[in-house]
Amino acid sequence: MLEISVLKQLPGFRLDATLTAPTPGVIALFGRSGSGKSTLTNIISGLVSPDVGTVSLDGEALTDIRRGISVPAERRQIGYVFQDARLFPHLSVISNLHYGERRNRRAAAIVGFDEVVALLGLAPLLQRKPRQLSGGERQRVSLGRALLSRPRLLLLDEPLASLDVSRREEVLPYLVALRDRLSIPMVYVSHQFEEVLRLATHLVLLEAGQVLAEGPVDEMSLYPELQSIIGPDLVGAVVEGQVTRVSAETGIADLAVGSGVLQVSLRDAPVGARVRLQLLARDVILATQPVQGLSVRNALPSTVIAISDDEFGAALVRVDVGGPIVLARITQNARRALNLRPGDAVWTLVKAVSTRGHAFTLAPGS
């Protein structure tokens, strides 16, 4: 458990954050730039001290200003992957990797040198100097260096932000592999919702130095404040389910979600895998009668829970699809024409192809 309750006054900015997140797992600190993500991360690492407050990890106080506790950063055993990698320019990659390992010999090893090199694909880079690496390679080395310092917690401060899209794709799978193979708790700072979708188990929403809300990613996806941060096009309920059938030939998998089954466009996920899927609200269609002769693959019997006007002039309808909640954005005209009310029985229609690129494996099947 990572428990934080801190206050920090900076020139023109005030961080007043309280959160409790489960460990192990990937805790995403999500918010716009300037929302206090980095300050909070620095406080967890011990590089910055809060004015008042406490930080504790798995019951052990790292910072407790009132009780005069402040474990120095160098003794916290908290690995930190910075946005700009911060590799030591005068040391080779291998010496960078050994830097933290050498200084933490007494801590329990979570992962060995050879395993880190294999996991992050560092073998061809070992003899190089940091200036001979690409941005993505630098981030992988930085990740390896932090892992080898035997951390109890790993902080990742927008590790992909300085990379272009293709470089991101080069690093992201490694992060997913870390989450699935090692049980190190991670705090992942990001302002890209897709990264949160792919990595996070717990989402903390930060805005103007305060925690707006926190919780599991699927619950948080329904949170109105999240919607205003990520913008109208990315709003959509996150549902999680298990793959029950795959068809290699069509690239379509059956996903058991609540009491229903969704056909989704998903390759490389074996039967039994846990999958997280975001159904973008703008792609979800509602029908008040059973439909026929449509190409839509998914028609789930559902119940309208609530309807709200969203801040973009449309209506956002929450429907219960047999357990999970799904969001559908419809125009005000459609809302009036269908005369939708809470409690109405409707069919929720989702095109299987619209899920392509929005479904991610959470844990490989057994």
């Binding site: 120095p72 160098e74 055993q77 930190y80 911060r86 030591f88 005068h90 830097y99």
Partner: protein
């Protein structure tokens, strides 16, 4: 001018080199410390310390030598203490010439080191911290290697300048042949003696060559080291 340099020239050259080397060795640790304090520590009186460190740049060298004489002379407070306690005499010795040279070139060294310290990315020291390195460890393993080009540049510049220090040396350590008569002092002496013109010219040319060599070596060394540390 064609024959081998006579012993007076060799002796002056050897003394100049010895004085310059010893002065650099003496002031280097203090220069690193002073540069570090001036860039990294915020304290009242920092400006005053800064000005004090740079004082030899603007003072007449003779004045610096005179102050050293007052402090480290046989009857000066520090000189008397050093002699009774350790049996060390500085005034009128080669070590004294090195001390005077060290004081004069100190600001040059501090400036060079300070410039490179200011360019060190503090983020790298933070990264080292999160990897478990305490303050001294960080300085030795990260900061020092990164400022090495600046330290070397400062040391070589101070060395080259130290070869030619005149005013402070002659005031504090006097002009004793074989003990404190370095190149510039020998040159001055030759100019003062009748018939010393040829010797004076040779000494002047020697100084010129030495200075040029020193500066070139400094530049090449710094380039190599900079490439090595990848700064």
């Amino acid at each position: 001018m064609n024959g081998p340099p006579d012993s007076a020239e060799l002796e002056a050259l050897r003394l100049s080199l010895e004085v310059a080397v010893r002065s650099v060795g003496f002031s280097l640790p203090f220069a690193v410390l002073a540069a570090w304090v001036l860039t990294r520590v915020r304290f009242p009186g920092r400006l005053l310390l800064d000005a004090f460190v740079h004082l030899p740049l603007v003072l007449p060298p003779v004045a610096v030598g005179y102050v050293l004489l007052l402090l480290f002379g046989a009857h000066g407070p520090l000189g008397a203490w050093l002699r009774t306690r350790f049996g060390i005499q500085l005034a009128f010795t080669t070590a004294g010439a090195a001390l005077a040279t060290a004081v004069m070139s100190f600001p040059l060294m501090v400036r060079a080191i300070r410039l490179s310290l200011e360019n060190v990315d503090r983020g790298l020291e933070e990264a080292a911290r999160t990897l478990g390195a305490a303050a001294l460890d960080r300085f030795v393993s990260i900061t020092l290697p990164l400022i090495l080009p600046g330290v070397l540049a400062g040391a070589v510049t101070a060395f080259a300048a130290g070869l030619g220090e005149f005013g402070a040396v002659i005031t504090f350590a006097s002009n004793v042949p074989g003990v404190t008569r370095t190149l510039p002092l020998a040159l001055y002496t030759a100019m003062q003696s009748p018939g010393g013109d040829a010797l004076a010219l040779r000494l002047a040319m020697l100084s010129f060559a030495l200075g040029l060599l020193g500066l070139l070596a400094a530049e090449l060394l710094v380039r190599r080291v900079r490439r090595y540390v990848g700064g």
